[in-house]
């Protein structure tokens, strides 16, 4: 089986230096569910002692993390114009 990391190598990204996601870790430190970690198809989230850690590189821009976050701790915004994921096939 390919790992998600390996699958992401097939995707064309033009990385935005300004991460499109900001997390308010004060809100998620004691979140029991941390649904962002499991639903993210790019597996960009990891549990950490302070809440969750996030890596913007490889974000597929689906927006699922923000929708499942009950605590409204995730602020997702569009990357700069022309940056982020650039699908070759779609």
């Amino acid at each position: 089986m390919m790992t998600v990391e390996e699958k992401l190598l097939t995707v064309r990204f033009r990385t935005d230096e300004q991460a499109p996601i900001r997390i308010d870790t004060h809100k998620c430190a004691d979140c029991p569910e941390k649904a962002c970690v499991s639903v993210c198809p790019a597996e960009r989230y990891r549990c950490s002692p302070s809440g969750v850690e996030y890596s913007a590189v490889g974000c597929l821009e689906c927006g699922a993390c923000q929708v499942v976050c009950d605590r409204k701790a995730i602020a997702w915004n569009y990357p700069q114009g022309g940056l982020g994921v650039a699908l070759r096939y779609g």
Partner: protein, 432 residues
């Protein structure tokens, strides 16, 4: 651009481009802002469009559009961990124009739409994020583009900025999306030589097949697996209701791995090479999640207005997207003629949608989304029906039993008569 645009369209997907193409043909100055590097850069879907729904906008599409394969075989499979029960609708007559369904890859298809739209005179500006709306009192009078001096005035804004529509939120037309409103689609595109695809899927020439997998395909979660044949690639993936995915704690990757290793899928994908991995949200609750579609100076089209259909057996987002874009454009053209852009002037938009196929079919299937999230279709029934098939098709030295005895045995301990009656009642209510 020499003159200011009369209409600003946000989003170069099927809905936005259909709106811009229609307006350009009517002689309206229109500009389309797209945040992706090119139209289609952010767009993906399972894989199939219904071209007859697009023909009036794109009369030459039978010859011109970048079709991958013309779909003549529609297969539905109920899966358990190691068995499957299949149903197929096959129509060889559907192979010739005007064919019913075809697979496409979205970057190619959206670029085709964009080329037609540019040729008709619209200005498409990719690589440009629209962050906000411009207001005059309670009327939208343009958009704020993410760049210096990015205020762009317009008489009307058509927001076709997708399921996550920032502009629908900014306009106060809807609140944030809830997990029960949407599904998460995750897709892998696999390269495989044409010859192999034809052999494995039983296809001739440019014919194609679509596969829908239910049951163990999603490990019993509400949703489905899919596989569409392209010319020399396969679009494979899952669509899972986000609320159910969330509460299950499962990862999309584990569900994909499970389905990919099922014999039904494994045999088709054997030896293929991954070309691309992508994910997107899909509007799932139809009318139940539909925002207000307009207010003074702004109209919503396509996924931004939740105009996508999911009937249980078929899904279509591109068809309603394009049709709603055309309705929005016709409404905008009428408003420009009147010189009025208030709510009263735009009230013909929902009327146009009702006169098209968009609203009538959303109304017909309004109760399907709730049925599709709440029932035993994904867990109990696939297991029960494949067990029944097993019993019917198996033999040993014991005498065969009658159908109803086998059916009762398959159901015993899994499904009570009461539950069955309730499901039939709910299903017949949802199927109008």
């Amino acid at each position: 651009m020499s003159a200011a645009p009369e209409v600003v369209v946000v989003g170069a997907g099927p809905a936005g481009l259909a709106a811009a193409l229609t307006l350009s043909r009517l002689g309206v100055r229109v500009v389309v802002f797209e945040r992706g590097e090119y139209p289609g850069a952010k767009n993906m879907f399972g894989g199939m469009v219904y071209p007859r729904r697009l023909e009036s906008l794109l009369p030459g599409l039978w010859e011109d559009a970048p079709w991958e394969r013309v779909v003549t075989r529609h297969r539905f499979l109920l899966l358990t961990d190691d068995a499957s029960l299949a149903m197929e609708y096959r129509d060889q007559a559907a192979a010739e124009p005007p064919f019913n369904a075809a697979t496409v890859l979205r970057t190619r298809f959206d670029r085709y739409l964009a080329d037609q739209t540019s040729a008709a005179g619209a200005l498409i500006v990719p690589g440009t994020v629209v962050d906000d709306l411009l207001w005059e009192g309670d009327r939208v009078v343009g958009v704020q583009v993410r760049r210096d001096q990015g205020a762009v005035q317009a008489r009307l804004v058509i927001a076709a900025d997708g399921i996550q529509s920032r502009l629908a939120l900014r306009a106060g037309l809807r609140g944030p999306l809830a997990p029960q409103d949407v599904a998460l689609g995750v897709k892998e595109l696999w390269a495989l030589p044409e010859k192999r695809i034809r052999e494995r899927c039983g296809l001739i020439g440019r014919e194609g097949a679509s596969y829908t997998y239910l049951g163990a395909a999603t490990d019993g979660l509400p949703g489905a697996g899919f596989l569409y044949t392209n010319r020399d690639s396969l679009s494979f993936g899952i669509v899972i209701h986000l609320a159910a995915l969330k509460s299950s704690g499962r990862t999309p990757a584990s569900l994909l791995d499970g389905l990919r290793s099922h014999p039904c899928v494994r045999d088709i994908l054997q030896g293929a090479t991954l070309l691309e991995y992508s994910a997107h949200l899909v509007p799932e609750r139809g009318l139940r999640m539909m925002p207000r579609l307009y207010r003074s100076g702004i109209l919503l089209a396509g996924d931004a207005g939740a105009m996508a259909l999911s009937t249980g057996l078929v899904t279509d987002g591109v068809g309603p997207g394009v049709a709603s874009g055309v309705c929005a454009a016709e409404t905008a053209f009428e408003a420009l003629g009147l010189g009025k852009f208030d709510e009263q002037a735009l009230a013909s938009y929902p009327r146009r949608l009702r006169e098209s196929f968009v609203m009538p079919e959303l109304e017909t299937f309004a109760r399907m989304p709730d049925l599709l999230t709440s029932s035993r279709i994904y867990s109990v029934y696939p297991q029960l029906l494949t067990d029944l098939a097993h019993a019917i098709f198996s033999a040993d030295v014991r005498p065969r039993q009658g159908f109803w005895r086998l059916a009762r045995n398959a159901a015993s301990g899994r499904l009570s008569i009461g539950e069955l009656m309730r499901d039939l009642w709910k299903t017949s209510g949802a199927l109008r």
